[in-house]
């Protein structure tokens, strides 16, 4: 995958990048933010990033505890170490934010993203798309005689690589969820 020289994640294309992407010492961090699932909480988090000029490379949010009214927001962001620290402190200041975890600092994390890709083509291209999908362990979730829709799960880099390979084979549409991440347990081995 490294041979493709793809940028990590989707940062280079994000519309939410307000800071100089070439500044020295930039680091990518994955933050997990546990919040009260109340109206406006996502707007508070996003407003913080845009208002203070921080980057959002990827953001996912969903309720994780229905009875406890809690949601988990996973944010991938880039910045200098000082900016990353500031982002964490500013997030912690938001009243409905309960916990802010920097998964990049707290130890290795499992990071996964899901994507749906529609690839239209016939003949050899169609066969090749299916063959590559098999290698990447992507599933066909919808198909017509002219197209496949693949579902792929993996790191953002894996999805970038798969999408890049599908482009010449007729990639017509792509939907990505953004990163969901959990810290690895102490006992777990790489898997």
């Amino acid at each position: 995958m490294s041979a493709l020289r793809l940028k990590k994640g989707t940062s280079s294309k994000s519309a939410y990048n307000l800071r100089d992407p070439h500044a020295e010492g930039l680091e990518s961090h994955t933050l997990a933010v546990i919040v009260d699932n109340e109206a406006g909480v996502l707007a508070r988090v996003i407003g913080l990033f845009s208002g203070r000029g921080y980057n959002i490379d990827s953001l996912t949010v969903a309720e994780i505890d229905h009875l406890g009214h809690q949601s988990r927001i996973t944010i991938v962001t880039t910045g200098t170490p000082a900016v990353i620290e500031q982002i964490k402190a500013q997030l912690g200041r938001i009243v409905p934010v309960h916990e802010v975890h920097d998964l990049t600092v707290e130890g290795r994390a499992v990071e996964r993203e899901l994507a749906l890709l529609k690839v239209a083509g016939t003949g050899e291209k169609r066969v090749e798309a299916l063959r590559l999908a098999d290698i990447f362990r992507a599933n066909v979730v919808d198909s017509t005689l002219e197209s496949f829709t693949f579902e792929i799960t993996g790191t953002p880099e894996k999805i970038d690589a798969f999408a890049e390979l599908m482009r010449p084979l007729g990639l017509s549409e792509i939907a990505r969820t953004g990163v969901a991440a959990l810290p690895r347990s102490d006992m777990s081995t790489d898997g």
Binding site: G40, R44, A82, Q86, Q90, G92, R93, V95
Partner: protein, 584 residues
């Protein structure tokens, strides 16, 4: 005991339970049910302002001078949007304010109804937190939570948006003791290891300095007392930001004056040359630091702040201590005493010698005049003639604000109300209304410029209606003085739009409002005019016609470090470089 009542009644009940005695507000269609409940009771006084911005600034003045939260009640749409400047001001200066806004009924939200605005959306970035109440049952709980959030941790403004149908509907009231306030619980105690590390540094420091800010005042009277004890016992010099003036008395032995852009030479030089900086409840604002990469280059820095995001935001510090100022100072004093009350006496004596040399420069000196009133002189006379009184000062924003900070001495906390962070012209007059409401017997003086004064002068009517004897002390130079000063320094003296033409006659204006006014331009009459203002039993506007071209010094020009201050008009040539010119 659960009680059923309408949402409107719940609002008034919750305010009473919070001990609120004054509400600053302005009625309108979407808050009429609440105003009806206010009509039906006598415990809470309602002050009818003339513009919603004035309501928030008045609440800020009330809050700063009492330490209690200020409360505002306004209607939906324009009522709420007019409150935005006040909310932002309170956010930047960490002032606890609770704003209640009316909203169109829930079933109309999103239809672009009459006087509908997305109030929680608009105010999200300018409040500490805000709520849209969609259910009457939740209203009591939310109001109590709002007071809790506004007043705990780093204080700030909060807003509760209440749709009209929620005000009319009946629900169950949640009393204060049952409200879910436990979810927001900022840390108060500082880390003992960090405090001990600071004490070790204090014992050996050769050139220490306390740099204090508004956080000391926000922490409460106890924090100011502990600060005084600590400073007195260690003998370290102390400087403060604009927001922190009064926490340590101006007459105190270790006081070396305000620091920052228009701070005192000795304070800024001491900050630049110190070897131990102890920042307490201050946030390294750009008015304080000047050029960041040349800020106090040789010092070891400790920072006490209740807000972790203030630490290492602008200046990297060596010992961060997250906690409430009073809690941390208590531990600091205890540990320092237990370890034997050590300081480096010999080095400290040298340090004070150096500071006295800087002080001898007499940075506030100005050319006196017999023919025109110098603004600095006017402030000095106001200070001299009002010093013995039970006195509260508010200011507008600009040169007069800086002269007030330089030439007036504040002996107690909560005595100076000024817009520090946002720099809001039009703050001082409504703030003086709020202060006077809280302290009916005190002398409340707004030090103003003629331009700032005009931004919210409609509030004179409020003062007259409520018989608030506020004193408006206008330094009238017929100029936007601070803008003009920057045009001098930066734009070749091209005074684009910075003069005040067609000024009203402030004496006639006072009469039109139904209060008293006087103009003074002769230095010989100044004292008598100030006395008349102070002695008058009612609101008073004193229009002091001052020297028009006076600039405010000393000054750290933008983009310069602390040790490169401008001391007067002679030293301004080429003072601001091209990189500094982009700064504000």
């Amino acid at each position: 005991m659960t009680r059923q009542m309408t949402g409107a009644k719940m609002v008034v009940q919750a305010l009473k339970d919070q001990g609120v005695d004054v509400v600053f507000g302005y009625p309108g269609g979407a808050v009429l049910p609440i105003y009806d409940e206010i009509f039906l009771q006598n415990d809470i006084r309602h002050v009818l302002v003339r513009h919603e911005q004035g309501a928030v600034h008045a609440a800020e003045g009330y809050a700063r001078s009492t330490g209690k939260p200020g409360v505002v009640l306004v209607t939906s749409g324009p009522g709420a949007t007019n409150a935005v400047t006040g909310l932002t001001d309170a956010l930047l200066d960490s002032i606890p304010v609770v704003v209640l806004t009316g909203q169109v009924p829930t079933f109309m939200i999103g239809t672009d109804g009459f006087q509908e605005a997305d109030t929680v959306g608009i105010t999200r970035p300018c409040t500490k937190h805000n709520w849209l109440v969609k259910d009457t049952d939740a209203l009591g709980d939310i109001i109590h939570q709002a007071f809790h959030v506004a007043t705990t941790g780093r204080p700030g403004p909060v807003l509760i948006d209440i749709p009209k149908d929620v005000q009319f509907a009946t629900g169950t009231y949640t009393p204060r003791t049952k409200a879910r306030t436990a979810r927001y619980k900022p840390r108060l105690k500082g880390d003992t290891a960090a405090i001990t590390a600071l004490v070790e540094r204090m014992e050996s420091a050769e050139r220490p300095i306390f740099y204090t800010g508004g956080g000391v005042i926000n922490s409460g009277p106890q924090a100011s007392q502990l600060l005084r004890e600590l400073v007195g016992a260690t003998g370290f010099p102390i400087t403060s930001t604009l927001m922190g003036l009064g926490a340590y008395p101006a007459s105190g032995r270790e006081w070396i004056g305000m620091l920052g852009m228009h701070g005192l030479y000795e304070a800024n030089m001491a900050m630049h040359d110190c070897d131990l900086m102890i920042a307490i409840g201050a946030r390294f604002d750009d008015r304080i630091t000047g050029r960041v990469d040349a800020f106090s280059p040789g010092s070891f820095k400790a920072h006490v702040d209740i807000d972790p995001s203030s630490i290492n935001k602008v200046i990297h510090v060596d010992i961060p201590i997250t906690g409430d100022v009073a809690h941390v100072l208590e531990d600091l004093l205890r540990i320092w005493k237990a370890r034997g009350r050590k300081v480096n006496k010999e080095a400290l004596a040298h340090w004070w010698e150096q500071i006295e040399k800087w002080r001898a420069v007499d940075c506030l000196a100005y050319r006196a005049s017999d023919s025109t009133i110098k603004p600095q002189h006017a402030i000095q006379r106001l200070e001299a003639l009002s010093k013995g009184l039970d006195r509260y000062i508010t200011t507008e924003v600009g040169q007069h604000q800086m002269w007030a900070a330089q030439f007036m001495g504040f002996e107690e906390p909560n005595r100076l109300m000024t817009s520090g962070g946002l720099g809001t012209m039009g703050y001082g007059l409504p703030a003086s209304v709020g202060v006077q409401m809280a302290h009916p017997e005190a002398t409340v003086i707004n030090v103003a410029g003629e331009a700032s004064f005009q931004m919210n002068m409609q509030e004179m009517a409020t003062a007259v209606q409520f018989r608030l004897p506020i004193k408006q002390f206008i330094l009238n130079n017929e100029r936007l003085g601070m803008v003009r000063q920057w045009q001098d320094l930066l734009h070749g003296g091209r005074y684009s739009q910075s003069w005040s033409e067609s000024l009203p006659d402030f004496v006639k204006l006072a009469e039109a409002f139904g209060c008293k006014g006087r103009a003074v331009s002769d230095p010989a009459e100044l004292d008598e005019a100030i006395r008349e203002m102070l002695d008058h039993d009612g609101p008073f506007i004193l229009d002091v016609l001052v020297e028009r071209h006076e600039n405010c010094y000393p000054m750290i020009p933008s983009g310069a470090p602390h040790n490169e201050m401008l001391m007067g008009d002679d030293s301004t040539e080429g003072a601001i470089g091209s990189s500094g010119a982009t700064l504000v």
